[in-house]
Amino acid sequence: MNRVARQIISFAAFGAASMILVGSLHAQTIHGLPPEGRGADVKPNKSVGRASEGKVEYKRFCAGCHGDRGDGLGENTQWIDPKPRDFTQATFKCRSTPSGTLPTDQDVINTIRRGIVNSNMPQWRPLPDQTQADLLAYIKTFSPRWTTEKQGTPIEIPPETPVTTESILAGRAMFQKFECWKCHGTEGRADGPSASGLTDSKDQPIHPYDFTTGTRFKCGTTNADLYRIFMTGLDGTPMASFADNIKGTQGWDLVHYLRTLQPLRTPESELWKTWLATHANELKPIGPESGGR
């Protein structure tokens, strides 16, 4: 009896364990979604970084592109476009803080985790939190700005407004008014009149983001990430901050419109398609001749 019973028990235990495991995986992918949506990097990294440890990891994982001196001149740099970040300037694209200020620690950690789409910066999500924090501590040693300046205060993002046709239309008017189309194109295809001559702060050619091919943005995937991108601007690039001109929930209108340009089935694009089917002739095309209704 003992042997058989033991086998039965162990089999049952294995089954139960598998069920729990599958269940927990299931819970993570479906119910465990952070409130900002799939792929949001909201998990804070609470580890305390150690620059001395970070130096070792940096040489191993980062120096090939970002260079031993952090100047963005690693041995691979000549083959890479866009060029790797120069940490000696401490100018960062992906921030939650106003243009011209240093990012928060979590902003940089998020970039390390997420990688940067359309560039050679991969995701470093598999690195443990401690390693990521160590890397950040070491990256900070490349610029005195990290010791002489205070990190910026994250811009406030109000709760998202409902996705409505009115909101999308208001966003479309903003896309026209703020002349987003000059670079991003009248249909978000990155083919606006100013798109071809854009250069970054190091005089390297740079492309505007093409909304019609991408699913991920440079600094995230969620609506909140999109909101943050145009409010903070991507420092070091032609993408300016619009925080002086777009206030509070108004920004969500632009987010909702931008979502309709993407090749995705989003709530925004579904609603927009339905509305357009009957109202397309009411819209003036976006562009120099003032798009509107």
Binding site: Q89, T91, P98, S99, G100, T101, L102, R145, E149, K177, F178, E179, K182, C183, P193, S194, G197, L198, T199, S201, G233, D235, G236, T237, P238, M239, A240, S241, F242, A243, D244, N245, P288
Partner: protein, 243 residues
């Protein structure tokens, strides 16, 4: 005997100055003093400035009857050089930044002025007079780099630079727009008009280093000594680099 009195008075004055350091700052700007003046010229062949095609921005193109020329080298008759920042780079007493704001305007898709001299710590206002959105992108290295959009009718962007630096400014939407913020740590500065003339006045007696900076031709420094209320003549000759 008279000499002794004079020496005594000078000693007293010096002692008073030494005793009141921070509270009483000598008002450098208002006190009559020496002047350094002269002309900035260049040798060699200056690059030819090309006309700017503003066809991509009709609202700006129609503001100009004749095509606007690139402004990176502005010259006058007799090889004089405009848009040169001439300033006291060493020797002057530290100055407090003025309360008035320096203004940088965007008009007809051009920067007015092309080169703006201001003091570190002085407020800077960037205005948009155009019917189009501009983005102001000063590409500073020592000061924090920012990039802000300014649609038509938006209020002026206010900013203060804390460190002296020559900062190239551009508008990414209109790539021909190009200018400079010359952030200096002195109130004694001038930007030359096309005739290359400049004058730095109100200099107390002393030895000064005067520097001239041009965005394409680089910098040149000379020393000058002011003894009283005289005007010292100091000309600069920069070497033109063609491209």
């Amino acid at each position: 005997m008279q000499m002794k009195i004079v020496a005594g008075v000078v000693a007293c004055a010096l002692a008073t100055m030494a005793l009141k350091p921070a509270t009483h700052k000598p008002a450098v700007n208002r006190v009559a003093g020496g002047t350094v003046a002269g002309k900035v010229t260049f040798t060699g062949t200056a690059p030819r400035m090309k006309p700017i095609d503003m066809a991509k921005e009709p609202s700006c193109a129609k503001q100009h009857a004749t095509p606007v020329m690139n402004e990176s080298v502005v010259t006058g008759a007799g090889n004089t050089l405009g848009d040169v920042v001439v300033y006291i780079s060493a020797g002057a007493a530290p100055s407090t930044p003025p309360g008035t704001a320096a203004t940088f305007e965007q008009k007809g898709c051009q920067y007015l002025p092309h080169v703006l001299a201001l003091e570190a710590g002085q407020k800077l206002e960037v205005k948009n007079d155009d019917q189009t959105s501009h983005n102001i992108h000063p590409m500073s290295k020592l000061n924090p780099e920012w990039n802000k959009s300014q649609p038509p009718g938006a209020p002026p962007i206010e900013v203060v630079y804390s460190k002296p630096e020559f900062i190239p400014v551009k508008c990414n939407v209109h790539p021909w727009m190009h200018g400079y913020f010359a952030v200096l740590n002195t109130s004694h500065s001038a930007v030359t008009p096309a005739d290359g003339s400049y004058s730095l006045s109100g200099l107390p007696p002393g030895k000064y280093t005067v520097t001239a900076w041009q965005e394409r031709f680089g910098t040149q420094s000379q020393e000058v000594t002011i003894t009283g209320n005289e005007t010292a003549k100091l000309d600069f000759v920069l070497k033109a680099t063609e491209y």
